[in-house]
Amino acid sequence: MENVLILGATSGIAQAIARQLAARGVNLILAGRSVEELDRLAGDLRVRFNCSVMTKKYDAVPIDAHQAFYESCKASVGRLDGVILCYGYMGDQRKAQNDGLHAKEVIDVNFTSCVSILHVIANDFEQRGSGFICAISSVAGDRGRQSNYVYGSSKGALSLFLQGLRNRLAKSGVSVLTVKPGFVDTRMTYGQSGLFLVAKPEKVAADIIRAIEKKKNVLYTPFFWRWIMLIIKLIPESLFKKLSL
């Protein structure tokens, strides 16, 4: 791993990943919406690790700009070894139920934009025959629940997309990692009620980097979420629909 692009670099998990990669001397391109925040982050990494960090403005939703964005990333580092997509939008379930545009926003950020940018990158990696793609989905995508099924279904769609992409790219030596974190202590979850077993972003980041290196397919982090979700998935639908999880 020499040059890595992080999309949505200001997210809590992305920041922890960036620190750990920078500490190993990986050159980073941090991309996201707020250049001010990206620069603040990049400055921090430079002081901590004397490393090379670049920042690029990336807007997920206007997908017609994705190709040009990727070309500009490639132009600045020569060759990208991998991409880690970390952004996501929780939205407001209640609001999404009554406001189609809000629901669309959640789906556009969590799914549509990912399909677009990851295809741009995948096409290049496939042609070259190397590289890794890692995207952060969610355990919320494993089963639809009344409390957040709009977010959940957008993440579920992302997981399914990544599964297909992995299948397609397997023969060209490009690895695709789907990350399903449980509750992580970040800006997205701060202040939410009903959370349990909340993990530190540093721990989740370390798990993700290890899984990328081992070319894993699907990572539940922390690990026990695999078993929690297995149990949740095993509950028969006839019973599940009556539960309030």
């Binding site: 603040r40 400055g43 921090d44 002081v47 800006r187 202040g191």
Partner: protein, 451 residues
């Protein structure tokens, strides 16, 4: 940006106040909070290592600053580090020890933020020679109640600089700071351990030879009485040069194996007998006079190795009481304080005596020339509070004062006598925050601001 209702306390776990907390990650989030109509006023809360109600804001808002923790720049030539105020001392050490730099001043825990260190004007074992942390701060930026961000230094907005140093967060939110790190060639210390049979002997040793040591402190057995009143172990030392450290890497980051106290100890664990036994043992395991090379973790941060050691004191928590006495009265003051403690039915598990250097210009800064004694006292029942009140009177009588970063019980009247420059402080605060956007439980208790 979520704001959550939660109960917060300082390190002493007394008092516990309900507050509306938010944890901004960006400066724009932070600015939005100040104009929020949901919450009347705010106080910054870092890592919660001040003991009492300094960072608490009952029924008001609390801004948790730990995610505003970016390093901004470092100049290898001058050792000047610029970072955001939520950066912890631990992070600084982890990054800069391997490069050969140490903090200019550190308190007895590395789990404090830069902002907290300035707002409480913290001191360390080198106060007698190098002053408080703020004395090494070149400048800082401050977010005012108006939303404006200004730079404060000894020459620029100097009044506000000295009001914010030790100003317990009431002038605004410290955003970033620049301070000078100290070059080191090893992260070890040559420590001289000496037993003193009583506090008088300790004071004599401090007076005679403290100038030979950059770092100096004494652990004191406050259960002893009579001729051994205040017997102690002096621990004084200097940073060791790399040649003396016979290790491949003289600049290791030393993380001791972490122990954790997983639950509140029942209140009977720390009682008079166990504390007495511990104190007596601690005194005896240290030889009369010896020299040792120790790592910075054991020298500065012995308690950081035990996570949540404050649980040791049980659910009711504890108070830490730290007072400073001027040189003229310190003998009498310390004697009375120790006698009163050992004569009462109370006990202090850990007590620390240290010589203190000249006072700085911080309007509410604690340290002043003389000697300071810090005690941990478990809260057993309500009778502790009148006892502390009588201690405050004793301290005042001898021209001393108590440290706000550790206080939770001082009265407004005593505060005013101990900190005579409070009026200047209030005038500056009223000028920069006329609508009282910044307030805290402590500020209201001490009547620094209107309730």
């Amino acid at each position: 940006m979520s704001i959550i209702k939660q109960r917060l306390s300082g390190w002493g776990r007394y008092p516990v106040h309900e507050t509306y907390a938010a944890r901004p990650e960006t400066n724009s989030d932070l600015r939005k909070l100040l104009t929020s109509e949901l919450v009347a006023n705010w106080i910054a809360y870092g890592l919660g290592r001040s003991y009492g109600d300094t960072p608490l804001n009952e029924n008001g808002g609390t801004i948790i600053t730990t995610k505003l923790n970016r390093f901004l720049s470092f100049d290898e030539k001058t050792g000047i580090l610029e970072c955001e105020a939520g950066v912890s001392f631990k992070e600084i050490l982890d990054v800069f020890i391997p490069r050969g730099y140490f903090l200019p001043v550190t308190p007895g825990t590395k789990f404090v933020t830069v902002g907290g260190a300035i707002a409480n004007d913290v001191h360390g074992k080198n106060h007698h020679v190098e002053g408080t942390f703020s004395q090494h701060v070149l400048d800082f930026t401050l977010l005012l109640a108006s939303g404006e961000v200004i730079r404060c230094s000894r020459t620029e907005n100097a009044e506000l600089f000295w009001a914010t140093v030790g100003g317990i967060g009431l002038t605004g939110i410290i955003l970033t700071a620049r301070f000078k790190m100290v070059p080191i060639t090893s992260s070890y210390y040559n420590v001289h351990y000496q037993r003193a049979r009583n506090f008088e002997e300790a004071l004599r040793l401090f007076r005679e030879s403290d100038d030979q040591y950059r770092y100096s402190v004494a652990w004191i057995d406050c259960m002893s009485k009579g001729g051994s009143l205040g017997r102690c172990v002096l621990m004084r030392g200097n940073n060791a040069p790399a040649e003396q450290v016979k290790a491949k890497n003289p600049l290791p980051i030393l993380h001791k194996t972490k122990l954790a106290i997983p639950f509140d100890f029942p209140s009977f664990v720390l009682n008079k007998l166990t504390i007495k036994a511990f104190n007596s043992m601690y005194y005896r395991i240290h030889p009369k006079d010896s020299h040792k090379l120790v790592g910075y973790e054991s020298f500065y941060y012995p308690l950081d190795a035990i996570h949540q050691w404050n649980r040791m004191y049980g659910k009711r928590g504890f108070v830490q009481y730290q007072a400073v006495f001027p040189p003229e009265t310190c003998h009498e003051g310390l004697k009375e304080m120790l006698e009163r403690l050992s004569g009462s039915n109370r006990s202090s598990f850990l007590a620390v005596l240290k010589s203190s250097g000249e006072q700085n210009e911080g309007l509410l800064s604690f340290p002043k020339k003389g000697y300071t004694l810090a005690l941990d006292i478990p809260i057993t029942d309500e009778s502790l509070f009148p006892f502390l009140r009588s201690m405050d009177e004793l301290v005042l009588k001898h021209g001393g004062r108590v440290y706000l970063a550790k206080d939770s019980t001082l009265s407004p009247e005593h505060f005013r006598e101990m900190y005579p420059r409070y009026k200047e402080f209030q005038a500056i605060r009223n000028r920069v925050d006329p609508n009282g956007i910044f307030s805290s439980s402590m500020a209201r208790r001490l009547k620094i601001v209107e309730a």
